[in-house]
Amino acid sequence: MKENPYQPWLATIDSICDEVGGQRAIKTFRLVFQDEKVREKFTFLPGQCVMVSLFGKGECFFAISSSPTQKGFIEVSVLKLGKVTSALHECEPGDVVGVRGPYGNHFDVSGWMGKNLVLIGGGIGQAPLRSLIKYVVDNRKQYGKLDIIYGARTSKDLCYTKDFAELKTCEDTNACLSIDVKEDGWSDFVGFVPDNLMRVNPSPKNAIAVTCGPPIMIKYVIQNLGKLGFSEDQIFTTLEMRMKCGIGKCGRCNIGNLYVCKDGPVFSYKQLQNIKGEQ
């Protein structure tokens, strides 16, 4: 018998970054596995997820928001919403959590080499894209043009502002931010993410578009990508569902015959068109 897939490894919260405050607070937790062997053997690719335990509270499934090119730790970005995420937001550096994974499929980073990438995110949906962006930036020569389109309701709701400050100085990266409503001192785009996409107007030629964010945003982003000439198999997204096991057994995260934990979370739009099931 292999090792018990339900038993998490212990990890210490190394640092916590407050991304967004207020009612819908978001924090990024940097987690370091306590066991050095686990630290070495834990490998993943952008898009993959982990099940994070807060002992006594429960487990939640999060996209890994750091890149595999960053060694020694993983990061997860957590929106404070339910029982476990609220308790996580109470944690401090030095606290111990459980981690098991990595789970699910990933962005096809090897198949996409040489292609232009258009990455469109909204709110906390940027988490899996952040992993992909870091990965592409760290392997910059292997990919074509990189357009990053990211938006939130207000400037205070934008995650990863430090990352974006750096990205804006990268010459070969086009990072375009947006907020929904006008604010004093905001010099980037004002409006919804799908509109910012039309303004940026990326070419579908030799391109892959990935969009993660709230369902309503994804809906209009996909419509607009269609208008720009992107075909169904050039568009990818990630999905989320309530989960318990993360390994395709507990039953609840299915969309049709596919399990988001195991067969996802990354799906092509073409795949989604063909699944009959509730999302």
Binding site: N4, F55, C245, G248, K276
Partner: protein, 344 residues
Amino acid sequence: MEKYILLKNKLPEWINMITPTYTIFAPVKEEDLVFFKPITKPSEMTLAYSNAIVPPKAQMFHQTETMFTFTQGKNIRVNPASLPDEKIVVFGIRPCDAKSLSIIDPVFTNDFEDPYYLTKRKNAILVGLSCNQPTVNCFCTSLNGSPASPEHLDILLTDIGDKYYVELNSEKGKQLVEKTKKLFTPATDADSKKKKDVEKKAVDAITRQMKINNVDAFVKKLDTIFDAPYWKTIAMKCLGCGACTYLCPTCHCFDIQDETTLDKGARIRVWDSCMRPEYTLHASGHNPRPERMNRVRNRVYHKYNYYPKNHQMIACVGCGRCIDNCPVNIDIIDVITKAGEVKP
């Protein structure tokens, strides 16, 4: 396949001989219901039963199970639960219930082996008893099953009058009989014929039929009627009680919860049911299956569409429990048979 005869009056002796080595789960009557329970002597069990109310999958996949314990506070430690190494015999399991275990095996095996289920499954010997008198809602024959099939069992006993016809269908089965060989005599051709006659009689006694002529065609048919109003009609009388899922031998869904005292805790897994709205409810409030229709349809599709797509088999054995125990008479035979007639 090796075939033997065990005289009925030798059965208690056989059970007594294997009791020191194995924990024996057998059908035990409690008031009007039959349950699989551990027995210490043969007289505790009943063999005059149609089927147990709770399927014996519960012996491999416990209704409640501690996955591990942990200490809380500053020095968190995770203590693995000890996996049981007891050898068990599930005695008197029906061929349909044995098949259900073969059906759910791939769920617990796939890329991540489930140690809780697989340890118990590997330590279990299934000694089946043919179903000589199928009940009114039995329909195993509609799903390529037979009330006297040894296919998914280690050993099958068939009552052929004053003796049991014993078929050994696996190494595990052979080994169990090998140790107690003196009780068994080789079966004759006449005994084999008797078994066939008993099986035919039992098959003929199954009066209800679920109409799925071709599994692939039916799976495709369901793909075309996902949005049909039919499912709303079916779901209208459902109460969402979940009895169909709890008593189904192929339902494998579970929930994971932490239970704690001040400084100690345990991670527990418990059976769950897709008939509950909380089952899929996101923390955001979004629920992908908000209506009872969504949940009823998901149950039917999981068994007759999703499961065949993923594992090339229908996740139903025709035991009839969901029909027998539905408080509002939702009848899966009717649901499926009529679904075949729904226009896309």
